[in-house]
Symmetry: D2
Subunit: 488 residues, 4 copies
C-alpha cells in the first residue's frame, strides 16, 4: 500500500486525490473524516471537509494528513447531515493553500463546493477563454473550471446546467459537488476514475474506493456509471446520463489495480487484492526464476509477491521490514543524506536473504533509482542473486489523466530496453508482466486505459494538458513565502 511521498522515492507513481461524500447521515463531518481517513493513501498533501445543515455551509481544510488537519477539530463546529471531503496529492513543490479541495465559492444562487479526482485535459484552454471574458481564477487547479461553468449564465440559466457543464469537460474525473441542499456525484464518460455509492442507515454515501464504505460501516450499493450524474437531496437519489459514452468505449485506469487502490477495495467491480495475486501468478508464468525465496517490496508488492510464490512454488519470506515512522516531518542533514546508501523506510532482514537467490516483486519501476538502491541493499546483506519481477509492464508514456508519473524524460522505460534497465538496476534478471498478462489477470481487458504502456491515449490531448499545466503556466505568482519561516 501507499505512504507519505518521500523524497527518497521520487520514482513511485503518485495519485491525485480521493473523494468522499454523504447525504442524510447525522453528524456527517466525523463520518466524512473516517471515510477520508480510509482514502488517505490517495493523497497526503491536503484535506478538507465541507458540510451543510441545509442552511449554512461550513468548511475546514488545510495542508497535511487528514488526521493532522482535523486533529483538534470540534465536530460541533461542523454540523449537518450532508457534506463532501477530499484528500489531495499535489504536483508542485510549494502547494498553494488555495488549491486544497473541496473548492468552495459563493455564487448568486448560493454556495457550490466541489471535490475532484482526475485531470481535465481541456481545462487550460477553457480557462483562458473565461479569463479573456474577465473571469478571475482563484487556484491553479484544473478542477476550478467546473466552478466557472456552474456560475456562467450560459449554463446556469438553462435546463440541466450541471450535466451540461460536466458534458463540456474532457478528461478524467470523479466529481463530488454540493450545495447547501444536495450532493451530486459524476464520473467522466470513459470511467477513468472509480466512484462508488453506498448506503449508511437512511443516508447515502459516495467514495472513491469501497474500503471507505467499509470503514464507516456502509453497505455497497453500486458504482456511479461512466457519464452518469447522480443527485441526492431531500427527495432521494436519482441518476441521469449527462453524456452518452460511445458504445463500448471505456478507459478505466489500470493503475488503480496495479498500485493506487487499497487491496481491500473492490474497484471497477474487482477485488484489488485478488487481481494483484493473479498478477503475481501470471508473472511467475511469464518470467520464472531459479530462486530460493520470494520477497515483496512492502507494502505495494505484497499481494503480487504472494501470487508469485504461489505460482512458482518458491517460498515467500519477509526480506524487507518497513519503518512505520517515516513521515514528512524531519529534515535529514544533507550530508548524512547524500552519504547514506541505507534507507530510512525499508530495512533488509539479513537473516532472510543471506546466501539466498532472491526474487523481489514490486508493482512498478518508474525511474529506476529506488529499485537500484534496494537491490544494492539486498546484495550488501548477502543475497547471492537478485531477480526483479514487476507486476506492471514498462511505463513508457506519461499519464494525462491524473497520475503523477515522472515526465517522459524521467521514465526509465521510455528509452531503455528491459536489458538496459536490468543492467542499470543491477539485477541478475528482470521481468515485467506483459500488457496481455496484466489485462487478463485483471479481467475484462477491453475496459482499461493502458496509455502509459502504449501511448495510445483514449482522449485526444491538446497542448498544455498535463496536471501541472496551469501551475507551470503561472510562474508569475509565488505564495511560497507565506508558508515558510525564516531560515537565515
Amino acid at each position: 500500500m501507499h505512504e507519505l511521498a518521500d523524497s527518497d522515492e521520487p520514482g513511485q507513481p503518485r495519485e491525485g486525490c480521493g473523494v468522499f461524500g454523504v447525504f442524510g447521515v447525522p453528524d456527517a463531518a466525523p463520518v466524512i473524516f473516517q471515510g477520508l481517513f480510509a482514502l488517505q493513501h490517495r493523497g497526503q498533501e491536503g484535506a478538507g471537509i465541507v458540510v451543510s445543515d441545509g442552511r449554512v455551509v461550513r468548511v475546514k481544510k488545510g495542508p497535511g494528513l487528514v488526521g493532522e488537519v482535523f486533529s483538534e477539530t470540534a465536530w460541533s463546529d461542523l454540523p449537518g447531515d450532508r457534506g463532501i471531503g477530499h484528500v489531495r496529492y499535489s504536483t508542485t513543490g510549494s502547494p498553494r493553500p488555495e488549491n486544497i479541495q473541496p473548492l468552495v465559492v459563493e455564487c448568486l444562487d448560493g454556495i457550490w463546493a466541489i471535490a475532484h479526482n482526475g485531470n481535465l485535459v481541456n481545462a487550460a484552454s477553457m480557462r483562458r477563454m473565461y479569463q479573456e471574458a474577465g473571469a478571475i481564477f482563484q487556484t491553479t487547479t484544473d478542477s476550478e473550471i467546473l466552478i466557472h461553468l456552474l456560475a456562467d449564465p450560459m449554463y446556469r440559466m438553462r435546463p440541466r446546467p450541471v450535466g451540461r457543464a460536466l458534458g463540456d469537460l474532457k478528461g478524467a474525473f470523479a466529481f463530488l459537488m454540493m450545495t447547501k441542499n444536495c450532493v451530486m456525484a459524476a464520473r467522466d464518460p470513459l470511467g477513468f476514475k472509480p466512484l462508488s455509492i453506498g448506503r449508511l442507515g437512511d443516508g447515502l454515501v459516495f467514495a472513491s474506493e469501497t474500503c471507505a464504505l467499509v470503514q464507516i460501516g456502509a453497505e455497497y450499493v453500486r458504482d456511479v456509471q461512466p457519464g452518469e450524474l447522480v443527485v441526492v437531496d431531500g427527495n432521494g437519489m436519482r441518476g441521469s446520463t449527462f453524456f452518452e459514452p460511445e458504445k463500448g468505449r471505456s478507459a478505466q485506469c489500470i493503475f488503480e489495480h496495479v498500485y493506487f487502490a487499497r487491496p481491500d477495495s473492490i474497484v471497477f467491480g474487482r477485488s484489488v487484492h485478488a487481481a494483484r495475486l493473479r498478477l503475481g501468478e501470471r508473472l511467475a508464468e511469464e518470467h520464472p526464476a531459479e530462486a530460493d525465496i520470494v520477497i515483496a517490496v512492502p507494502d505495494s508488492g505484497n499481494s503480487a509477491a504472494l501470487g508469485f510464490s504461489r505460482g512458482s512454488g518458491i517460498p515467500l519470506d519477509y526480506g524487507f521490514i518497513r519503518n512505520h515512522y517515516v513521515g514528512r516531518t524531519f529534515i535529514m542533514p544533507s550530508d548524512a543524506k547524500r552519504k547514506s546508501s541505507v534507507d530510512m523506510k525499508l530495512a533488509v532482514v539479513s537473516d532472510v536473504v543471506r546466501d539466498k537467490r532472491v526474487v523481489v516483486v514490486d508493482d512498478s519501476i518508474i525511474r529506476g533509482h529506488t529499485a537500484r538502491r534496494r537491490i544494492e541493499c539486498l546484495r550488501k546483506a548477502g543475497a547471492s542473486q537478485v531477480h526483479m519481477r514487476v507486476a506492471s509492464p514498462p511505463t513508457t508514456h506519461p499519464c494525462f489523466f491524473g497520475i503523477d508519473f515522472a515526465t517522459t524524460e524521467e521514465l526509465i522505460a521510455a528509452d531503455m530496453t528491459v536489458d538496459q534497465i536490468r543492467d542499470y538496476i543491477r539485477a541478475d534478471s528482470l521481468g515485467y508482466i506483459s500488457v496481455e498478462g496484466l489485462l487478463s489477470a485483471v479481467g475484462m481487458p477491453d475496459r482499461y486505459c493502458t496509455a502509459c504502456f502504449s501511448g495510445d491515449y483514449p482522449v485526444e490531448i491538446g497542448e498544455g494538458h498535463g496536471k501541472a499545466a496551469l501551475e507551470s503556466a503561472a510562474p508569475l505568482l509565488d505564495f511560497s513565502a507565506n508558508g515558510k519561516k525564516a531560515r537565515a
Copy 2:
C-alpha cells in the same frame, strides 16, 4: 493613540486599514514592513506584503499584527524593489483569511495586487451585476470589485482602463495597486482618505500617513490629489486625473484628525498633534470647568488634554497609567471578567486624583460604556468631581466611508441629549466641542466630511452600503471552523 482593539472597549471608533507601497527601493519588503509597522494603529487584524522583482510577484500575508505575520520571515524570500502592503481592520467576528489584503490575482495580463483603505458604497450592487454575469468573488470585501473591473474586457481592452475603473467606484478610497512592473496610487474624488507620496533615495513611496515616511527615512513630496491616479514604473512617476471632482467639493475625514492618525503625522496638510492641541484649547473655551487638574484618557486624549490644560490654566497631571501588555492573546475567565470593575488596560493613579476635581479629556464617546466605567474608577480612587470633556461633537450618525462606529442604535448620542449622556456616564459635567469649534480648530473647515455629526453624507448612500454589507449578505458560508481548534 491607538491600540489593539479589546473587548473592554467596544465603543471606540475603529479604523479600516492603512496602505504602504514603494517603487525603486532595493530590498523593498523589509522597508514595507517598517512602513506598515508605523501604520499598525490603522488596523491590527491582518497584514500583507506583495513584492515584485519585475519578473515574479511574491506574497506573504496573514492574520495578526505586522510583527506577528512577519516575525520569522526570511526577507530573501521576498525579493524585489517594488511592492505594496496593507494593515487591515475587519468588522466581522471571525475574519475570513481570504479577506486579508493585498488582494492578489492572476489575470490574463499577469498579476494584479490591490490594497485599499476606505469603503465603496456601490460595491454591493456592482458585485451583484458581475455575479449575474458569472463572476466568482473570492472575498467578502468591497475592495474586490476593483479586481473584477480591472479584469473585465470592457475596461481592459479600452484606453486608460485603471482610471476608468476607479472612476466607476463610489465612496471612499485610497488604493495602492501593482503589477509586476509598476505601482499605482489613487484617491477618491472627494479625498476622504489620506495618501501621501515620499521619496527614498531614487525610489518613491506611498503611505496612508506621513509617520510611515518618517519611519523609513523618506522625505515627504506631496499628497496624491483627490481624483488622481499616480503611476510609477521604470519610466518614472506621472499623475493624471481619473475623475474631475466637482469644483470645490471635498470630504476629508475629520476623524483622521480627531482619532485615527498618529499625532506625529501630517494629514491633509496639517499636523495632527497641533490640531488636537487646538481642539483642547477650544474645548476649554467652549466648556470651561472649575477643577484642580486635567487628565487625559491615554493615549487618544493626550494632545487634547494638554491643549485643555493650556487653554484653561488648570494643571495637567497623569491620572491614568496604561498597561502596555494588553493584547488579544489571553482569555479572561468570564466570571472574573464580569465581576471585575477594574480595567486591564488603564489604571488610576490614586495619588493624583484623590480629593481632586478632575477634568478628563477623551477624543470621543461612542457607546458610553467605557466612559462610564472610567469615571467610576476615578471616583473609587477618590476624585471628588469628574468633568468629562470630549474633543469631538456628539456622534449621531453611522459612517459609510470606512469607520467602524457602532450602528445607529448603539451610538449613545443618536438618541440621548448631552444631559442624558452626562447622567448615564455619571459625570459632574460633560462638554463636547461644537462642530464649528472642531472645524475651526482643524482649519479649512469646508474641506471635511462631518456626516457622523450631522447625517449630511457627501455621497449618496444606496442600499446595502455599509462596510459589512457584503459580509452580512453572505451568511451562508462559514469558515470559522478552519481557524478554530477543538474545545470539547
Copy 3:
C-alpha cells in the same frame, strides 16, 4: 512490528525505551537521530539527544516521535563527535516533560547525562533514603536514582564510582551514560535488556538493537555483557565487570523475541525473524488447525504466521490491511468511536476471508478486547471459522522489569482458562504456544526470564516496585495544565 500506541489497543504489551550512543563519530547528532529512528518502535512518547564536542554538552529533547522532536533541528546547533540518545515510552497519562531522557544534570565535576532502558526495582526505596538526607528529585523516573548515586560523595570520592553505583542498583537495565569526555554503557548482571556494540569508521556505537547499527551503516562488534561496564573515551574502549553475575544465572527478556525487537535485529545473539518463524512452526505442531488460510495480525504476527503456514502447509494470505496513517494526532468524536465496531487501523480484506476457515496468528493476547474485536470483524467479513493461534504462552503475571503489561487484574490469562478466553474472544479454537515450545524455538532456554508466564521472578521484588511506583507515589504535583490548551 510496532506502532504508535493507540487507545484502540490497550491490551498490547508496550516497551519502555531504546538507547543509542556514539563516540568518535563526526557529526554525531544526525547519526544518533538515525539510530533512534530505527529504534522508534521501542518508545514513541518522547525522544532526546545529548552531544558533546569535548567542551560543551548540548541537549535537545521533547515529547513525541523522533521525527517530530527533531523535525526542524539545525544539526549545527548540536556539534560534537560523541553523544547518547533515548526514545521513551511512558506509563502515565500526562507525561511529565522532566521525565524525557536522556536526563542531564550539572554536578560539581561537570555534566552527567544518562539514558535508560529497563526498570530498577530498588529505586523507590533508595530514592526515599536520599530524600531523607535532603536530596531533591527532578523526575518521577526510576532512572534518576543513578544520577544521585553518581553525585554522592560516598561514590564519587572512591575508586570506580560508576561501577559501584551500578552495582547497587537492582532490576533490569541497559544504561548509556556520558560526560563531556566519555560515553559509557552497562547492562544489569542478569542481562534483562539487550545492548550491542558496533563500529562506524573509527568510532564506536551502542544500540539497544542491531537494526540501529545497520541503519547507520555500522558493523556489529559484540554485545555488552551482563554485569559489564564499557567505557569509551579518547583512549579507546575498555570493559570491566562491575558485578559478577551468579554463575550461570541469566534473565534475558523473552518478550524481546516475541514482540519488542524488530524482526531484522539480532537480539541476545539470535535473529528475531528466524525465532518468530520457528515460533509459528512450533505453534502449528502444538496446535494444528483444519483451515483454508493462515493470516497474520500485521505486523506483530507476520513472521509467526509465515512460520505457521510453513509448518502446517495451510496457505498464507493477507487478511488484514494496515492503515499506515494511524497516529495519535486526531480526536475521534466519542459517539462515532463508541458506535464504531470497525477499526481505524486494520481493515479486513473480505475477498480473502469470505467463506474461509481462517487461522489468525498474533504474538500475544493481553486483555483480550482487541482479539475479540478483530475476530468479530473477520466473521462480519464472511469468515466461516476463526482459529486463533498465539505465539507466546498465556501472560499470567505482571512484569517488573520494564514491560508495561496491564495490571494483574487486567491480564485476561491471570484468571481465565484457555477455554474461557476462547469463549470470550469468540474464536472457534484458541491455541497458545507452550513455555517449552517458546524456549526451544528461541534456543538456549535457560537464559531467559519467563516470569510473566510463571510468576517466577529472577530478582526479588520489594514493595513499590512497579514502573509507575514513583509516579503513583507522587500524586501531589500536577503539571498537566502546562501542556494543555484551554477547552472551554
Copy 4:
C-alpha cells in the same frame, strides 16, 4: 514605564522579577493571572502560576508574557484557593526553561514552590557546598538554594526551618513560598525589595507592588517588614521576625522609585508618581535650562518631565510618540537595522520640536547609546537645542541585588565625567539630579541603598556574586537547541 526589553535599548536598567500570591481566594489562578498582569513591567521573559486546592499542587509556566503563557489556559485545570505566581526577567541570552519560576519540587514532606524577586549574594558559595555533599541543582538561578535548604534535614528537622533557612541567605529577596496548605512571604532584613500585603474578601494577597492589589480589587493592609516571615494558612495569618535587622539599617532599592515600579504603585510607603514629580521639580532647581519646551522620553520619563515643567515653568509638550506594537516577535533584517538611524519604538513629533530649544527628561542613562540616538532624532526633526535632564544620579557601579545594569565597563558614567557624557550624547547641556536631591525628593533618605551611585554596598559582596554568577559558572551545558528551530 517599562516595556518589552528590545535590543534597541541595551542601556536601560532591567529588573529581575515580580511576585504575587493569594490565600483563601476562590478561583485563585485567574486572580493571580491578573495580579501578574499588573506586574508585567517587572519581567517579561517568563511567567508561572502554582496553585493548590489543599490536596494537589498544580503548575503552569512558560517563556514569554503572562498573556502569552496563559493565553489558552482553561482555568479549571488550575483549581484551588491558594497559589503564587512570578514574572521573570532573565539575564541570559537563551533562557533555560528550568529557570522559569515558581520553582516547584517534591520533597519528602510534600511540595514546595518558591517565587523570588532579588538576588542572593551567597548563593554560589552555598550551592557549591551542597554540590560537594551530592546535591543536584536543576536550575542556574540563585533562588534554587532556598529549596535545598528547605529539604536539608539540618533545617527540616529543627524548629522554625523556614525562618532559619531565610536567615542564612545573604542579599536581596522578596520571597513567596507555598506548600499545598499554606502560603508564606518574606523580605530580607534590609528590605531591598518591596512586598505588600492586601486583603480580598476573606482572603489575603501578597504582591511586589500595590498596583497589583488595585488591579484585582484588593485593599492594601501593610508591607511585609524587613526580616519578617509571614505565614498564612487555614488558621489565619501570623508574622514573625526571622532575622532581627541591625538597628536602623535599611537598604531599600532607590531604583524602584526612579524606574522600576509603576507610577500608580505605593512603594516603601510612598507614591511613585509623586516621588518622580518631585524628582523633576528638584532637577529643574538643580539644573535649570533656557528652553521653549519640556518633553519626556515616554513612558519612563513622563512624571519627572511633568515635574520639571512645573518646577521650571517651561511648558510641557509631547515630543515623542511611542509605537505600542513594538514586541519581541519580529526579526529586523540586519542590514535594515544597521542602516536605520530611526527608532522602531519612539517617533519624534516634528511639529513640536522644530526650531525649539528642547529639554528632554529621562529616568536614567546607562550606556548612553540610546540617549545619543534619541538626541540625534530630535535634531534631525529640527530641534535647535537639546538639553538632557536625568532623574537619577550618574550610575557608576553595578548592582548585585537584582538590577541588571550593564557591567562596570559598559556603564558610561563609570569612567566618563558628566561633560564627557554630554559630549558623547551630543546634548547642548546635561544635568543629573544629585544623590542628595534624589533622596530628599523621595523622602526618608537614610532608608535607601544608593550603591549604584556610590559603590557603597550595604551587604558585603563575595566572589561570584552577580546575578549571572551561576549561569556563567555553568557554560558547560547548553539547552539552546531545544527551543530553536532549524535555520539552514
